[in-house]
């Protein structure tokens, strides 16, 4: 039932779009019909171009995201558990947080050229804060009353982290990861639009240059679809990791 409700609006839009295309209300160059786009998508899948571009973009996102997670997660945990260090890190982190990653693209190209490193760097800049701040909030938000229980039973610092702080921060950590993945995906497409020779963003900008709006549409749809799938995977992961939550934690989704 939920699936049917969720599909209602997309199907409606598709039908409307089909109708508008058949009636010829808009120039078919500006708004290609869904049939054309489906055909183009078929072709792009058949000649392997779409998969190649998606593969490269996905690889960049996963690599950038994993590297960021390895950096942001421990740092947030350390700062959360040792709040005396906060005074040192707070101003620096707050400064960096306010700089949009795309503003650094020219500098990164200057430093690293247009190969892989600047794209990974962009993703890391975009992903760091959602992961870091949400993990930090999760650690800081741990119920002091539960920590006292750990104190009564003589938990070591490691036990305190593993048995109390981590499970209690888990919803926040996963929220951070979900937001972070969304951000890395967006910033990567931005970076690929500006300077790249492969990836979904490149496919879109290349299509503009060769006047193929249908390919642009294929690119946009693919990005949305992949974002949706990744997020769905995360929701399932939440269910699996947190069976004590009644339903999946609906972080502002519903």
């Amino acid at each position: 039932m939920k699936l049917i409700k969720g599909l209602a609006i997309p199907v409606l839009i598709l039908l409307l779009w089909l109708y508008v295309s058949i009636q010829g209300f808009f120039n078919s160059y500006l708004l290609p019909s869904p049939v054309t786009i489906a055909g183009t998508m078929g072709q792009l899948i058949e000649n392997g171009l779409l998969l190649k571009h998606i593969g490269i973009s996905l690889y960049r996102v996963l690599l950038g995201f994993s590297l960021t997670f390895l950096l942001a997660f421990p740092l947030a945990v350390l700062l959360g558990m040792n709040q005396k260090w906060n005074d040192y890190f707070d101003p620096v982190l707050d400064f960096i947080r306010h700089v949009p990653p795309l503003a650094c693209v020219p500098l990164l190209i200057l430093w690293f050229g247009i190969g892989e490193p600047p794209k990974i760097a962009i993703i890391m800049l975009a992903t760091f804060f959602p992961v870091f701040l949400n993990t930090l909030n999760g650690v800081l938000g741990c119920d002091k009353k539960l920590l006292e229980v750990g104190q009564v039973f003589e938990f070591t610092a490691v036990d305190r982290f593993r048995r109390i702080i981590l499970p209690s921060a888990l919803p926040s950590v996963i929220l951070g990861m979900r937001l972070g993945l969304g951000y890395s995906w967006r910033s990567l497409i931005g970076a690929e639009l500006i300077a790249a020779s492969s990836g979904i963003g490149y496919m879109i900008i290349d299509a503009e240059q060769i006047s193929r709006p249908d390919i642009i549409f294929v690119g946009i749809l693919t990005i949305g679809l992949f974002g949706y799938c990744i997020d769905y995977g995360f929701l399932k992961l939440t269910d699996y990791l947190m069976p004590w939550e009644d339903r999946q934690v609906d972080y502002g989704r519903g």
């Binding site: 229980v149 104190q151 009564v152 003589e154 938990f155 004590w244």
Partner: protein, 247 residues
């Protein structure tokens, strides 16, 4: 088992730089293996007293020492456990896992399982062992918290109004269970409550606190299980009630 000796203990909180005495001039002996109840109005320092004994908060002045088998012991040599007003169960652990967490330092998993099983049966929680805290009632949750403390096998059990949030029926039942547990296990128990009935029903001695000071220590020379309709029970209760109300 362990007794507690409190000498000249005081706890001062500072609110906007002004000292507020939570507890002052506390001198109290809690005998090894005794059941002591502490009663008083809200804000009289009952909970603070327990937190000081447990070591969750430092004393401002004075000393708290522990005695076992006639010797003086440090806090670190004591197994002290506390049951809080709220169950404070870990939401991500089942009833069984919550109880087992008290035995985190026990390497023998077989022994952990046996201990947890024992107290699950004793407290009537067997059927709920795989439930998460949000799935059980307040009474069950508080029982789990009590079970967790018993698994820890403490020398001294501190209870901070553990039955305060429960309905009258569950409460009466748990009070009876508490007495039975005390008679079986003979642990030293310090039990804080604002309910005079409860204090007289449970304790061998009741300490009456008011405004951060001990105003009386009343021996309760009645045999367990006590009957709250007994004349002796009634008189003791009225006596204590008057002490608290007359202030």
């Amino acid at each position: 088992m362990a007794g507690v000796e409190i000498r000249e203990a005081a706890k001062i909180y500072y609110i906007k730089g002004n000292p507020v005495y939570a507890l002052a001039d506390i001198n109290l002996s809690i005998a090894d293996g005794s059941f002591v109840t502490v009663v008083g109005k809200s804000g009289c320092g009952k909970s603070t007293l327990l937190r000081l004994i447990c070591g969750l908060e430092p004393l401002t002045s004075g000393t708290i020492t522990f005695t076992a088998d006639g010797c003086v012991k440090r806090r670190s040599e004591q197994r002290i456990s506390m049951v809080f007003q709220e169950p404070r169960l870990m939401p991500w652990l089942t009833v069984e896992q919550n109880m087992a967490m008290a035995l985190i330092h026990e390497p023998d998993k077989q022994k952990v399982k046996a201990t947890v099983d024992h107290f699950l049966s004793l407290l009537g929680l067997k059927r709920f062992k795989d439930a998460y805290p949000r799935q059980i009632s307040g009474g069950m949750a508080q029982r789990t918290a009590l079970g967790r403390t018993l698994c820890y096998d403490p020398d001294l059990i501190l209870m901070d109004e553990p039955l305060g949030a429960l309905d009258a029926f569950t409460r009466r039942n748990l009070q009876k269970e508490m007495v039975e547990l005390f008679q079986q296990q003979r642990k030293t128990i310090v039990f804080v409550t604002h309910d005079v009935d409860e204090a007289v029903f449970l304790g061998q001695k009741t300490v009456v606190l008011d405004a951060g000071r001990v105003i009386r220590e009343v021996a309760i020379p009645l045999d367990y299980p006590r009957v709250i309709t007994d004349r002796a029970f009634f008189l003791l209760r009225e006596d204590i009630m008057n002490m608290i109300m007359s202030d």
